[in-house]
Amino acid sequence: MEKTMAGTAIRVTEEGYLEDFNQWSAEVGAEIAAEEGITMTDEHWKVIDYIQDQYKNEVPLTIRKVGKSGVIDIKGFYALFPGGPLKKASRISGIPKPVSCI
């Protein structure tokens, strides 16, 4: 489906993840963050940068991996994105919902 964010029509999944990473911009990210009740700070953006980097290099992400990244530890990751940090941070980053390997 389509949703207007930051003044443009963006394609998103039912759960609100971007369908096309190329449509992402920092404004779109901030708007998604606001929907999640998160106000973005430099700390948040550092994590988003890291997550997008991993995505571009096709490295699958886990909470543990983010915690070991040197960018932030697990506790800090939760503090920035309360509830489901990896899910929320992935949405804000404009990348697909993390696959929990079932």
């Binding site: 697990i74 309360p82 390997c101």
Partner: protein
């Protein structure tokens, strides 16, 4: 000249591959399989041990019984793989050279990853059921237990057999009811997922069953620590849950061997191509079962489906042909729901579990995503199939390695 295939691990997948390969390859190939244990455990049976349905003896057999003639079984701990030298070195220093290596070392619980989980309370009030010792300790505790609060917790995903913790909750409900003490037991299911399961249709159904059985679900609970003295668990967000009995599925990790060899990811799973099962470590190293990092369920049924495809790819590799990218992530799992009933789910990388009939479209006899007695009989029959067909590498009748869409209801 003789050539060597070495298989690491003689569990479900390693045993199965040794049987497949011995039948398929001529005598100019020697096959060696290495494991540190002498016993093969039917792990799906662990689920039933706490409730006295299976005795430990029924689910443990000697490893060597299932390794075919013409395959060398080596017992001992594998220390390291040297991909650049095509060799494996054992803990005692012995070396094995290979032309082709198959990694099938599985995954195991790592309770030490959760702060405070290990301690005097381990296997006293805090249990796992992913090991035989844990399942037996829980059984002994339940026999004497007079009631209280039992919390079932998944530490983090991925775990092997991701439906097993739910099944444990369902079976506990039935067990306490049977013993006439259900009203004295509070059951809580605390999970890092946002519902009972990861896939939407199945979650809807399973959330409903939890409710029906009066099992309280605490979603998005990411455990940080266990306080064994005060009997509480705390998540990263600060939420606390108290317990009398904690049944935990701790973090699952692949073998430390990967870390020592420098080839695993951060939880020691081997980077593997999800279609061909060739690892990204080197072209002559393949991986199967729980040891890989592919986004499929870690389950015996998955190892079985992978086995048929891996066999073909190894035969192609031997002949110098291109590999087939055929594995579709097919998984097929029974979910025991208690009182002699079970659900069945069948899915792959791209198709979530839905309702329908299996294996014959429109006929069954098994029903997908619906409780039935027939499904329960299927689950019970799985033990026989496992010992007699699955690990000996026989094709299961009517069930193909790739998932079939026939007989399933995809949109409703």
């Amino acid at each position: 000249m003789k050539k060597d295939i070495v298989i690491l691990g003689a569990g479900t997948a390693g045993t199965m591959m040794s049987n497949h390969l011995r039948r398929a390859l001529a005598d100019d190939w020697s096959i060696t399989v290495i494991d540190q244990r002498t016993e093969h455990h039917y792990q799906p049976g662990y689920l039933f041990v706490p409730f006295g349905v299976y005795e430990p003896e029924e689910i443990v057999k000697p490893i060597e019984k299932f390794i075919p003639h013409g395959v060398d079984l080596v017992l001992g701990e594998i220390d390291r793989i040297y991909p650049d030298h095509d060799k494996v070195v054992m803990g005692d220093g012995k070396e094995y050279n290979y032309d082709i290596l198959i990694i099938a070392t599985g995954t195991n619980i790592a309770p030490e990853e959760i702060e405070g989980m290990m301690g005097p309370h381990w296997h006293k009030d805090v249990f796992d059921f992913y090991t035989l010792e844990g399942a037996v300790a829980l059984r002994d505790k339940l026999r004497k237990w007079e009631g209280g609060k039992m919390v079932i917790n998944i530490a983090e995903m991925p775990i092997k057999c991701p439906v097993a913790p739910l099944e444990l909750a369902f079976l506990a409900d039935a067990y306490f009811e049977h013993r006439g003490m259900r009203d004295k037991v509070e059951l809580v299911f605390a999970t890092p997922m946002s519902g009972a399961f990861t896939k939407p249709k199945a979650t809807e159904k399973l959330d409903y069953l939890l409710k029906e059985k009066n099992i309280k679900i605490v979603p998005d609970f990411n455990i940080m620590s266990v306080d064994g003295e005060n009997k509480t668990i705390t998540d990263y967000g600060g939420e606390e849950i108290s317990y009398d009995i904690l049944v935990s599925v701790p973090t699952n990790k692949g073998s430390d061997l990967m870390e020592r060899s420098g080839i695993g990811d951060e939880i020691n799973y081997v980077p593997t191509d999800r279609g061909t099962l060739q690892t990204k470590v080197k072209e002559n190293i393949f991986a199967i079962g729980d040891a890989t990092n592919i986004p499929a369920s870690k389950a015996g049924s998955v190892a079985h489906f992978e086995g048929e495809i891996l066999l073909e790819n190894i035969l192609r590799y031997v002949k110098g042909e291109a590999l087939k990218e055929e594995f579709d992530g097919h998984a097929n799992c029974f979910i025991e729901t208690g009182h002699g009933k079970a659900l069945l789910i069948d899915f792959n990388y791209t198709h979530e579990p839905v309702t329908g009939t299996f294996p014959f479209p429109g006929v069954g006899p098994l029903s997908l995503l619906k409780e039935s007695r027939m499904n329960h009989m299927g689950k019970m029959a799985f033990k026989w199939i496992y010992w007699n067909m699955l690990i000996t590498g026989r094709h299961l009748p009517f069930v193909s390695a790739q998932m079939t869409e026939a007989g399933k209801v995809f949109d409703d």
